[in-house]
């Protein structure tokens, strides 16, 4: 699949949050204001692209040669957890300001289904190294797009009158549901028309 195809697929057609259901916990939890959403979006994109590459390496250099593919889940998630902790320490040291903005969201990424999701999906559709990396970035951008759209809507919602039982997470879910409805418009036909 061409790289543009991958990007369009993961940003629009198979958007990680709105059609694949991956990464909902931060999507609901962190989308209260735009800055934290953008911060979370970039942190996830950054980790996802490296994780996709690292897990591709594990799959092809360790798991397949030794024929121990049943260890896929454990090795992938071990790598992701270590990667996230490493990135968190690195950012804390190199730029405390960025760490203050992102700090609390980084450990959240380990438990983010989207990161392991992209690793498994790119292995399952046996992408090569570059395709996995591009898929990681694309999925991250899809995540960023969805979470930033969501945070702008939720900020607007704060000043609107919302019935009492709907305030907080319920209205967030309903907004997410309506966004998912809109995202259903992007389907394979879009891909075929766009890149033939």
């Amino acid at each position: 699949m061409t790289y543009i195809g991958i990007i369009i697929t993961f940003v629009f057609i198979n958007n990680f949050i709105l059609t694949q259901f991956l990464g909902l916990c931060p999507f609901i939890g962190v989308s209260k204001n735009v800055e934290s959403a953008v911060g979370m979006g970039f942190a996830v994109t950054f980790v996802m692209s490296i994780a996709a590459l690292a897990t591709w390496a594990i799959q092809n250099f360790i798991l397949i040669p030794m024929n121990i593919e049943f260890l896929q889940t454990i090795t992938f998630i071990l790598m992701i957890a270590a990667l996230v902790q490493f990135v968190e320490m690195f950012i804390q040291k190199s730029s405390p300001a960025l760490y203050k903005a992102l700090g609390i969201y980084l450990p959240l990424i380990t438990t983010n289904c989207a990161v392991l999701g992209i690793a498994l999906i790119s292995v399952r559709s046996n992408y090569n190294a570059i395709e996995s990396f591009v898929a990681g970035i694309a999925a991250g951008l899809g995540f960023l797009l969805a979470i930033v759209l969501m945070s702008t809507i939720r900020e607007k919602l704060d000043s609107e009158w919302v019935p009492a039982p709907l305030r907080g997470t319920p209205i967030a879910f309903i907004t997410g549901g309506l966004m998912a409805l809109a995202f259903m418009a992007f389907d394979k036909a879009l891909l075929n028309n766009l890149i033939g």
Binding site: I58, N67, M89, S159
Partner: protein, 269 residues
């Protein structure tokens, strides 16, 4: 068959070991030297991150105390006991003067009791309404009742009564002052926690004018001071306020006040 189990054992073991070493090593070189006292301070601060001390949350305040030796009594929600604990951790004697303060809305005017200039149908936010001609109420000093303070209060101490005016729960209020900052008409004021009564009005217009636009507004008639001289009533430019250092009985004044705007806080609204 067995060899694959051994492969699994070795490969994941080595991978885990390498990652563990890398993380431990990274923890060493990336270690940001954090003063132990900052952590300890953070535990003792209330943790509501309300920003009353002027620093970004309790973590920010803790760091400011240790690194920039900020004032140790700024944590108003914590009050005297938190300040004492900070002093203890920093090894400095800290004494907090004055007693616990709480915020109160000095207005009981609702859409029934106060006239309005226009029909407002916009964003549920006091500042938004206030930006168009100072709010829909004819009285420019009163509470607009759209609850911006409710949204900003970190401890949800403010509630809107069925009658339509706002009440602040004195036990919940942590005196962080956020409601005062957000309120466009400045109708929220700080009073001592154990204050018994308040004059629920903020209007300095002449009595005649107040009577035209609000039936529960103070008209500066000074009856309260005559009826309960030791109640600490101070009347300046047509508005009565209470000097809480005098704590005499104000029952007659409450009774006599034509606008009934002196409220006994203990008589639960």
């Amino acid at each position: 068959m067995i060899d694959r189990v051994i492969y699994a054992f070795l490969s994941v073991g080595i991978l885990g070991g390498l990652l563990g070493l890398a993380l431990a090593y990274a923890a060493k070189i990336f270690a940001v030297k954090k003063d132990a006292r900052v952590g300890e301070l953070e535990e003792n601060l209330p943790g509501i991150n309300c920003g009353a001390c002027g620093y970004p949350g309790c973590a920010g305040y803790a760091e400011a105390i240790v690194l920039e030796d900020a004032e140790m009594t700024l944590c108003s929600p914590g009050g005297p006991d938190v300040a004492a604990k900070i002093g203890e951790i920093m090894g400095v004697e800290v004494s907090v003067s004055g007693e616990k303060m709480v915020a109160q809305v000095m207005c009981r005017g609702t859409r029934e009791t106060s006239k309005t200039k226009y029909e407002y149908d916009g964003v549920e936010d006091c500042n938004a309404m206030h930006s168009s001609f100072g709010g829909d109420k004819t009285c420019p000093y009163g509470c607009l009742g759209l609850g911006s303070c409710i949204k900003v209060c970190p401890v949800d101490a403010i509630t809107k009564t069925d009658a339509g005016y706002l009440v602040i729960d004195r036990d919940l209020c942590i005196a962080c002052g956020k409601c005062i900052d957000v309120c466009p008409t400045g109708v929220i004021k700080m009073i001592p926690y154990n204050a018994k009564d308040i004059v629920a009005c903020n209007s300095t217009d002449k009595g005649g004018l107040v009577r035209k636009y609000c039936s529960v507004g103070c008209i500066g008639c000074k009856i309260c001071d005559k009826k309960s001289p030791e109640g600490g009533f101070v009347i300046e430019n047509f508005l009565a306020t209470i000097d809480y250092s005098a704590d005499g009985n104000r029952a007659e004044a409450i009774e006599a006040c034509p606008a009934k705007c002196i409220i006994d806080l203990d008589a639960v609204e």
